[in-house]
């Protein structure tokens, strides 16, 4: 991990204004907090600004949020730099976040990283020249059972390896986004080898033992 880059003056827009849609959202968000606790809305507003502005937050938006919430702008910037999910410099149209924390690493995240390097030529915190892709190496994405994970914008692609990463990148290059989820086709996070327990709901005589015991203890009734 390294410090979060902040876009230099060349990339910073001079102004930032909320879209009508965002304004409506802001109204809903601010209504959740008492008048003197509006600063609590800083996280949702940063998220909103990022979604509105090509997945990154310009300093003009920091100013806008600070003014809106009555905070000092350094306080907003502190929050924006603290959380890794906020981008303060332009990112690609496809924002790749590859997890390299232990479970993903054990399951082959190095291959995912290598594939991205091979196919796109970018490393951590870098962006392709055409602005289509950028890569961020992240800590645990919280989906270790389906490791390794590659997050593309808001979607998780799971059970990645070199080949599936290559296929995914190729379709993204064409502008198509394949369905998210496991690349090996397993359902949610079930075992790779298929179900090993609870393969059927009931045992041979139709009532599971734990259920039968419960009805006996409660003296009948099945509620």
């Amino acid at each position: 991990m390294s410090s979060k880059p902040i876009a230099d003056d060349r990339d910073q827009p001079a102004t930032f204004s909320w879209t009508a849609e965002s304004e409506t959202r802001i109204g809903v968000i601010l209504a959740k907090y008492p008048p003197d606790r509006q600063a609590s809305a800083v996280l949702p507003l940063l998220d909103l600004a990022q979604r509105q502005h090509d997945n990154w937050i310009p300093l003009a938006a920091i100013d806008a949020i600070a003014a809106r919430l009555g905070m000092a702008r350094i306080r907003v910037l502190e929050v924006a730099t603290f959380y890794t999910m906020f981008n303060l410099a332009p990112v690609g149209k496809w924002f790749l976040q590859a997890c390299t924390t232990t479970p993903c690493w054990l399951r082959g995240s190095d291959q995912v990283m290598r594939c991205i390097k091979d196919k796109l030529g970018i490393g951590n915190h870098e962006r392709t020249a055409d602005g289509q892709f950028s890569l961020l190496e992240v800590e645990c994405l919280g989906a270790c059972v389906n490791a390794p994970i590659l997050q593309v914008n808001d979607d998780f692609y799971e059970d990645m390896d070199y080949e599936t990463t290559a296929t995914l990148l190729a379709s993204l290059k064409r502008g198509e986004q394949p369905a998210m989820g496991s690349m090996t086709g397993r359902q949610t996070s079930q075992s790779i080898a298929g179900p090993t327990s609870l393969t059927s709901l009931k045992d041979s005589d139709g009532v599971p033992p734990w259920y039968a015991g419960r009805t006996a203890a409660a003296g009948g009734g099945d509620d």
């Binding site: 991990m1 390294s2 410090s3 979060k4 300093l59 000092a72 702008r73 350094i74 306080r75 910037l77 502190e78 730099t81 603290f82």
Partner: protein, 699 residues
Amino acid sequence: MPKLTVDGIEVEVPPGTSVLQACEAAGAEVPRFCYHDRLSVAGNCRMCLVEMEKAPKPIASCAFPASEGMVIHTKSEVARKAQKGTMEFLLINHPLDCPICDQGGECDLQDQAMAYGWHSSRYTENKRAVTDKYMGPLIKTIMTRCIHCTRCVRFATEIAGVSEMGMLNRGENAEITTYLENALASELSANVIDLCPVGALTSKPYAFVSRPWELKKVESIDVMDAVGSNIRIDARGQEVLRVLPRLHEDINEEWISDKTRYACDGLKRQRLDRPYVRRDGKLQPASWAEAFAAIATRLNGLKGSEIAAIAGDAVDAESMYALKRLMTALGSPNIDCRQDGARLGGGPRAGWLFNTTIAGIEDADALLLIGTNPRWEAALVNARIRKRWLRGRFPIGLVGQPVDLTYDYDHLGAGAQSLSEIADGSHRFAEVLKAAKKPMLVIGSGALARADGAAVLAAARAIAEGFGMIQPDSVDEDGETVAGWNGFNVLHSAASRVAGLDMGFLPGEGGADVAGILAGARSGAIKLVYLLAADEIDTEALGDAFVVYQGHHGDKGAHRADVVLPGAAYTEKDGLYVNTEGRVQMGFAATFPLGEAREDWKIVRALSDAVGHTLPFDDLVALRQALMAEYDTFAAIDTIEPAPWGAFGAAGALEEAPFGSPIENFYMTDPISRASKTMAECTEVFSLRRQPVATGTHG
């Protein structure tokens, strides 16, 4: 009142006290970095870990409230091990560059590593490195040394009132910075240097200049404004190298303004180190005897009314008193100490003092500012107002120019019109003042240094009396004396002003004030003007008068002078100063006057001999005795006697013109700060808002 045991000693502390404070009360020393008495508690350095019995692990004593029956050990095995461990972690990413670090010798980390650390490091990996940040012309940063205590962030946010500093990123990438590396725009910014427990924030002008043990330290009084901040002057040989704050709870607490701290490099430039006499239109070096002879010759045959004297803004009380005695002996009524032309003086002493006292601001519950910008005129008074304001329920109104004061206020109007409305109760702020139990007002020279100044003063007095700001001592039902309240305050910006007013350095019977002296000089009615370090007047307006300038800097006054008598700056003489509260304080010399220059009272005394009116004191003690015998307020060193109330000011028509501000540039207000290179840089960056352009020769 919880009772707890610290290292076997039982202490009783007020509720809300932290364990760390309780330990201090019991005389136990607890190491700390992030904790500071005057800042909010952060609890992030973990150095203050102590053992609490029945607790599963050591506790951070700064953030843990003391409660009944606690048993604390600060020196037990557990506590020592925890402190040692914390210290080892802190040192992991702290460079071992003490030999080239300016904090060396006065570094909390260095000291505490000696007392609480390991003898050597077990860490063999690479240390992290952090890029240095720009924080302005005063603060040098070496951010690799930072241990993230956030004292500077809390100071900037809480005390200075500029939320410009913060900690970006997190974990091992955390970095302290100002927003986008702007200069920290506060008059108190350099206090973060004192607060920094390591060498991350050090003094830029003092970088690589000296080690603390090489310095002679003299405790003295500041003269850059009328607050009378307590300072320590650090000098090496003949050179004043730095000025640091000294604790005085009732005045500056432990802060000083950037001008107080950094104007001292102006003491090395533009100095007058020998007498000069104007011959053939040019100031030529002369001996003391020649200079005195030139004055004596010119004085010969002049009537008292043809002579005048103006005292400057930073002179000591003794020299003013000596000059007053000399002018009286010469028969001149034309003396004045109010260079700005403020219509103050005469009448009861309460009429020109900050009666509430600076510490008293914390007891007030409403404030009316009139024609003043306390942030520039007295940065530490402003800090105290902010301290009170942060506690809440402290409505503040301002009549005058709208300015950024680091706290919210209600802008009531620009000039005297609003003042009249408040006085007659028709203004909305009148209700606020009426509801307050201890309201106060602060009037500055922006409102008093004008033709109708006396009428404005009278209007302010009327408001003070009309809204219960003047409450005499009273006796309550139980027979206890309740201390009175005086909410009428004049905020001066000149260190010598109150002393001058106290000793009546004012026009005598039929005498002229500063404006009158200038007019007289122009018309020829006044033939000799004695400027005692007075530079803040329009020296061009002195006409053909013979000007004697006594002072320490070649500023405006010396340029116009016919005879220059080199005096001593405040760091070079013992002297009494009276701050805006009326508090008499004693300053001490840290170095000797430069070259042939002499202490100012000695010059006046020697001159009195040369002109045949020898003053009756031969040493400073005799002078002070005479001063104190004549004006007894000077005898009470560092004590405040409530000044008796009475009538002052003069009824009259108020002009409509908005109240002005006496200070245009905070960083340059007197000959010393105008000669200072550091103050010039501050002017560039903060007043003119020019970003410094780095050239090849920078750093």
